[in-house]
Amino acid sequence: MLVWIISWATPKCRDVVRILSEQMDHELPLMMRFRLRLHFSVCCWCERYMKQLHYIREAARRFPEHADEAGDPALSPEARFRLKHVLNSQ
């Protein structure tokens, strides 16, 4: 019964995931934040989704430093030579 009430009173999962994404970019009103917490009490998937959004954010923030490990391609020998020539002419 309580689960039913909470499901009725909080946004549906399809909307929650959209709202969680918006929350990554701007602060939500207090009431919405409260409704999300309430929703998580009956929906582990949405709570997991929120954690995974933060995971993706962390991975994206670290990606530039790890671009080297992300595989090919590399600078071509011609591009490398051209770069060095341009830099040395400064």
Binding site: R14, Q52, F63
Partner: protein, 215 residues
């Protein structure tokens, strides 16, 4: 003989590329060449993920290293050399997209199509078997592995170009939403939809290709 793919602004016509070039000036000449050797590939690979075109990525790396030469006295060593160069590259990439945004319309109706509606039942709840799986191990353990970054790159490459641009401006360059809207002449609601699509797609791709992959 001209090199294939030579940049228009360069007058170099080398017969055979060599690894080093005799410098003209006396002041710390080896740094720029060392930067190319030590950081060139990393900067290029990151630029290529962002702009998806080799020639543009090469130009951005060149602009980055030129800017670095001009400002090398300001580099006081608070971060690693690579972090510093990557920071300059991010600014160059932002400038590139700012210019692109003014020249072209940035919204793409096709890329706004809802590809994930089948994950939810009509009432709006997750289809049980399609809900997010648990991701293990934790990020610190995973983000040391080259294979993870290859997967991340693969997933980023799969995003539609405009959505990828917006996501990477927001998440990698950490540009504020309002500034992205101004740069690209898009509304905030368009931005949020595009970011939502990007995050859903990336989450799905990472789950399938990394966290839930066949071991």
């Amino acid at each position: 003989m001209n090199q294939p793919g030579a940049a228009p602004s360069s007058s170099v016509t080398a017969e055979r590329p060599t690894t080093t070039i005799a410098p003209r000036r006396g002041r710390a000449q080896t740094n720029p060449e060392r930067w190319v050797d030590e950081h060139g590939d990393c900067l290029f690979r990151y630029a290529l993920v962002r702009v998806r075109r080799r020639e543009v990525a090469e130009d951005l790396v060149q602009d980055t290293l030129l800017a670095a030469i001009r400002s090398r006295e300001k580099f006081a060593g608070q971060s690693s050399e690579r972090s510093w160069l990557t920071g300059i590259l991010k600014h160059k990439i932002s400038d590139h997209f700012r210019k692109l945004g003014r020249e072209t319309s940035f919204t793409d109706l096709d890329s706004l199509a809802d590809e994930f509606s089948e994950k939810f039942v009509p009432e709006g709840y997750w289809v049980h078997v399609k809900g997010p799986k648990e991701w293990k191990p934790e990020s610190d353990e995973v983000m040391h592995r080259a294979e993870f970054w290859q997967t991340m790159r693969h997933c980023l490459d799969k995003l539609p170009e405009r959505i990828a641009n917006v996501f990477m401006l927001r998440e990698m360059d950490e540009v504020e939403s309002k500034e992205i809207c101004s740069m690209l002449s898009i509304s905030e609601s368009n931005l949020w939809v595009m970011l939502h699509r990007a995050r859903m797609a990336l989450r799905e791709c990472l789950e399938i290709n990394w966290f839930n992959r066949e071991k």
